[in-house]
Every structure is written in structure tokens, then in C-alpha cells.
């Protein structure tokens, strides 16, 4: 089973929830950081890193000796990453989405696969919890290509069973959707403030078409107002856990603590959350079903 922990608004507690869930999980589990722009899961799980690799995507490399400047590559490219002007061909690798269209369409076979560095993928172990993370190169604009490569490795790491908990990026556009779309259950973490509620609604709209079971976790419960509870009730979205608004929790988080470790009550909150996630997962579609 793959559980992704997402939110519309940033800073609502995704990493807190993902780290706590991984820590109390009762079986082999991987904590996966797909917030590749600002990965934070390692700050809480503190894994020993066993290996890492630089991740690349395919961009065009033009052999000008073969190029006839016919412009077929520029015609197919939707991202202005390759341009032909008279007897000049220019590539803009940072604009390339790696579709391979120019390479496939070139009648002279003058374009071969080159590379653009996306960032780094690393893996390791934090106690009983496995760890996998992507880290976008500073200056790289596109996070989905790196996220796709992290997910390829995730599939390999789950080949022999086990579950994964994905820490997703904030927002509701392409990076967030990319992070959650291959999971079995989506947790939406929010806080009961006007910003939290508004962005939660956007996240609900963005993720509902994926057809995955979803549940809400309300962090800083007691803050703000009750609009989030009304929204969840109206949409039939189950509230799986509430974490109280408590300065002591915020201070512990600021020291890098995993909040499931803070008290028996908080631990129980996450154990109950885990059990409800299991209940939400559709057995017919989950990876777990194969060895349940």
C-alpha cells in the first residue's frame, strides 16, 4: 500500500504526519520524500544514507554536421526548447520536457539524447523505517521529471512487499498531483484556518478525479473556526485524526522531534490513523492485497 500525505496549503503538517506515521507503522515501511523542491522528511527521520545517484532527463543534443535546418524539430516542440532560424539551430535544454519528439521526428537522425541534471535521489534507513528522497537541483524549474524517477526506484524498493508513506509537495497543481496519483490512499492534512480551509477545498477538487480513497487530518485543531468540519461533513470526507493546537507540539517540532513520540495520547492518535488508513485502502486495488 502507498499512502500519500498531501495538503493544499503549505506548512500544515504533512512532514510531521508522514514522519509520525512511518515511525509507528507495524510492518516494513518506506518514508518517501516527494517534496523534491523543499525535502524535509530527512530532518525528522534522520536516516543513515546508504546510497545516492544524480538524476538526469533526456534533452536534445544536435549534431550540426547532419542537420539540414529543415525545422521539423522546432515544429513538434511545444516548449520552445529547440529553434531553427535560417542556418542556425539553438537548443534551450532548461525548457525541455523530455518528450523525445525532436529526436523521433528528425529525418536526418541529427538529434541524439543528451542530459540535463534534475537533482539527486538518495536512499537509506532510519531504524526500522526505510528512506527514499528526491532533491531538486537549485535552479531546476521542473519537479515532476525527478519525481517520476524517484517513483521508479520506489517501485523497485517495494517489489518484495512493504508499504510506503509519501510526503507530497504543497499546492494542487502538477507537482502535487504527480506525487499522489500512484498511491492507494490520500491523506489531506490541513489546519482549521481560512487559508487552510480554502486550500483544502482546492486539494479536494484536484484529487477527487483520481478516484482514490481520501481522508482528512486536522492539525492545530482548536485554532481558527469550524468551516473545515462543515466542508468534510458536506463532502462525506472522513476526518481520520485531529492533532491539537498546542505550543508544546510546535516547540517539539522546532527541535526536530517526531510528534508521535511526544506522548502516549499522540502515539495513539497515529496508531488509530494507521488503522483507519488500512480500512480506507481498497483491498482489490492495493499492492498489499497480493500478500495480505
Amino acid at each position: 500500500m502507498i499512502v500519500s500525505v498531501a495538503s493544499g496549503k503549505g506548512g500544515t503538517g504533512k512532514t510531521t504526519v508522514a514522519a509520525s506515521l512511518a515511525t509507528i507503522w507495524d510492518g516494513p515501511v518506506l518514508g518517501v520524500d516527494l517534496d523534491v523542491e523543499e525535502p524535509n522528511l530527512h530532518l525528522f527521520l534522520q536516516p543513515a544514507i546508504a546510497g545516492s545517484e544524480t538524476a538526469y532527463m533526456t534533452v536534445p543534443a544536435v549534431d550540426e554536421a547532419k542537420c539540414t535546418y529543415c525545422g521539423a524539430c522546432a515544429d513538434i516542440c511545444q516548449f520552445a526548447a529547440i529553434n531553427v532560424m535560417g542556418q542556425v539551430i539553438l537548443t534551450f535544454p532548461e525548457m525541455c520536457h523530455g518528450c523525445g519528439g525532436c529526436i523521433a521526428v528528425c529525418p536526418e537522425k541529427a538529434i541524439s539524447p543528451g542530459q540535463r541534471e534534475l537533482g539527486e535521489i538518495s536512499w537509506g534507513q532510519a531504524g526500522k523505517v526505510g528512506f527514499l528522497a528526491g532533491r531538486l537541483r537549485v535552479g531546476e524549474a521542473m519537479s515532476p521529471p525527478l519525481m517520476r524517477l524517484v517513483k521508479v526506484r520506489l517501485d523497485q524498493m517495494l517489489a518484495n512487499g512493504g508499504d510506503a508513506i509519501i510526503d507530497a509537495p504543497p499546492g494542487v497543481s502538477c507537482p502535487a498531483v504527480n506525487a499522489v496519483m500512484d498511491s492507494d490512499v490520500i491523506l489531506l492534512v490541513t489546519e482549521p484556518t481560512p487559508f487552510g480551509v480554502y486550500d483544502f477545498q482546492l486539494a479536494w477538487e484536484a484529487f477527487t478525479p483520481l478516484g482514490k480513497p481520501m481522508g482528512a487530518v486536522i492539525n492545530r485543531a482548536g485554532l481558527g473556526n469550524d468551516a473545515i468540519y462543515r466542508f468534510c461533513q458536506e463532502k462525506g470526507l472522513p476526518i481520520l485524526a485531529e492533532i491539537p493546537y498546542d505550543r508544546a507540539i510546535a516547540e517539539a517540532y522546532s527541535r526536530g522531534r517526531i510528534i508521535a513520540d511526544l506522548s502516549a495520547g499522540l502515539r495513539e492518535t497515529f496508531v488509530s490513523l494507521r488503522d483507519q488508513i488500512r480500512g480506507l485502502a481498497q483491498p482489490g486495488r492495493s499492492r498489499e492485497a497480493a500478500h495480505a
Binding site: 506548512g11 523525445g100 523521433a104 499546492g171 497543481s173 484536484a206 522546532s254
Partner: protein, 292 residues
């Protein structure tokens, strides 16, 4: 004309609450919400929309089942796993489709349509603090970077037409495409951070991004009293890198109270928080030489 962008790296550190307060404090400006993915500034500014425009960007492949002969070449060539056989034939998953046109160009039956993608809407509105240029990307949509460019262009033109000396922008979390777009042409990036391991880690990455794009950078430490040791570490980092620290703001539920009332924090009765914020704004004006 000066352009200031409020960013953070990590989400939920207080970007939007502070941008709202600066919009209150700044004279003669155009306000712009560049977090097009999960925009929240309108919840504080309660805008009246005066102009509404559709945002189209890129295209989306759609297979015509009548024309498709089921050869499957499209599915083989798609780099994004967006085309799958679903029992009734081949279909494009719009969530995974990047709009690269490869399937359209290579389909031997010319069975794939390629309509423009309607990705969102943008608005010019009036608010009690002046004009606001803002948008809503449809949940799950892409090309947020291009929408950011559209908004900035509109905000600049509006500022010029009205003789406004400042464009004040609220940015997105992260370091990816919308943030990179929002930095272009900015005179100052103000990063709002918090004294937590994630806050500091993400501040360092977003500072690296601004260095990469040569954007002047200054820092506000929000909730500084949550963890004095971590605050000290952030200050050492800023000192070493010569980034001005504009303010240390206390952890104060006033910010949420203002949000619940649809107000900005400087509209509430004067507090330590609002006094410190007022000084921060004066320092920002000094840094970008506003009005000189």
C-alpha cells in the same frame, strides 16, 4: 518602479499574512498574488473583481475512438505513461498528458486531436488597499510559471498606468517553476522563515535560488520565540551570507484572529507584532529605495 516578492521556501511560514499587512502599510502600489496554485491573499483583501480573463496554456491530446485503429504506437512513444489501453481502446489520461504533441504527430491514422488547454482564470480587482492582480489555476492544472508571467506583466502595466511606484507580490512556496518565474525582474525577494529545522533548511535552498538568479535577498524570522537556538542559527546564516534580517516576529495567535476576521494583522489594535512589522516595512522601503 520597484518590484518586491515575498517568498519562503517552506510553506505556511506566514508569507500571505505578511504580504497582506505590507499591502496595508505600503503607499501607492499594485498588489499581485503569484501563488496561482493555492492563492490565499484574496481571503484577507476581499477583492471586488473588475476584470476576469481566461488563461489558456498548452494543449492536451485526445484520441478519437472512431478513427483509432488500435495500433498502440502512441502509447509506446509517450514518455509520460499517459496513454493506456482501457478495454474499450486507447485513451489519454489528462492528468499525465504533458501536451508534447508526440502522439499527435506520429499517429498513422491522424486520430488524435490537440485542443488548447483551459488552465485557469486571472483577475484584476479592487481592494481596500488598492488594485490586486490575481488568478486561480484550475486544481490539478499545469503551467503555473506562465500564469505567473501573465500576472506580473498585468501588474506592471497597471502600476505604470496608475503611476504606482511599487508592485508588491505574494509568492508560492518551493523553489520550482512558479517561484523562478516570480523572481524575474524582482528588485528584492523577502523570505519569511521560522526557527524550525524545515524552515532553516528551506530558507537556505530558496536563498541559493535567489543567488542563482541574482535577486537581492532579505529575511524575516516569524515565530522567532518558538526556538531561540534555531533563530540564532538562522541569524548566523544570514550574517555569514550578508542577508539583512528585517524583523523577528513573535509566535502570536493574532495572525490567525485577523485571518478569521478577513483582516490583516496591522488593522487590529497595535501589538508587538504589528510594531515590529511596521519597522520591517520601513527597512524594506530603504532597501529598494522606494520613493527616492
Amino acid at each position: 518602479m520597484r518590484e518586491i516578492i515575498i517568498i519562503s521556501g517552506k510553506g505556511g511560514t506566514g508569507k500571505t499574512s505578511l504580504t497582506g499587512a505590507f499591502a496595508h502599510l505600503a503607499a501607492n502600489k499594485v498588489i499581485c498574488d503569484l501563488d496561482v496554485d493555492a492563492p490565499d491573499l484574496h481571503l484577507l483583501l476581499q477583492p471586488t473583481k473588475e476584470r476576469s480573463e481566461e488563461f489558456y496554456s498548452g494543449h492536451e491530446a485526445q484520441i478519437d475512438g472512431e478513427l483509432c485503429d488500435g495500433c498502440g504506437l502512441c502509447a509506446t512513444m509517450c514518455q509520460y505513461g499517459a496513454i493506456r489501453e482501457n478495454g474499450a481502446g486507447f485513451a489519454v489520461d489528462p492528468v499525465r498528458c504533458e501536451g508534447c504533441k508526440v502522439c499527435v504527430a506520429f499517429c498513422p491514422m491522424a486520430a488524435i486531436r490537440f485542443p488548447e488547454r483551459h488552465c485557469g482564470q486571472w483577475y484584476v480587482s479592487s481592494t481596500r488597499f488598492g488594485p490586486l492582480v490575481h488568478a486561480q489555476l484550475f486544481p490539478g492544472a499545469e503551467n503555473s510559471g506562465r500564469l505567473v508571467m501573465v500576472l506580473k506583466q498585468q501588474a506592471r502595466e497597471l502600476a505604470k498606468a496608475r503611476g504606482a511606484g511599487l508592485v508588491l507580490c505574494d509568492g508560492a512556496p518551493g523553489i520550482g517553476c512558479p517561484v523562478i518565474s516570480s523572481l524575474s525582474g524582482a528588485h528584492l525577494a523577502v523570505a519569511v522563515t521560522e526557527p524550525t529545522p524545515s524552515g532553516r533548511h528551506d530558507l537556505e535552498r530558496v536563498a541559493g535560488l535567489c543567488r542563482y538568479f541574482q535577486t537581492a535577498f532579505a529575511v524575516i524570522i516569524n515565530k522567532f520565540d518558538l526556538n531561540p537556538d534555531e533563530t540564532a542559527r538562522i541569524e548566523v546564516f544570514c550574517h555569514d551570507e550578508s542577508y539583512p534580517v528585517l524583523a523577528r516576529l513573535p509566535h502570536d495567535p493574532l495572525v490567525t484572529e485577523a485571518m478569521v476576521q478577513g483582516l490583516v494583522v496591522t488593522e487590529l489594535p497595535e501589538s508587538d507584532f504589528s510594531r515590529e512589522l511596521g519597522q520591517a516595512w520601513s527597512r524594506i522601503e530603504g532597501l529598494v529605495r522606494l520613493g527616492r
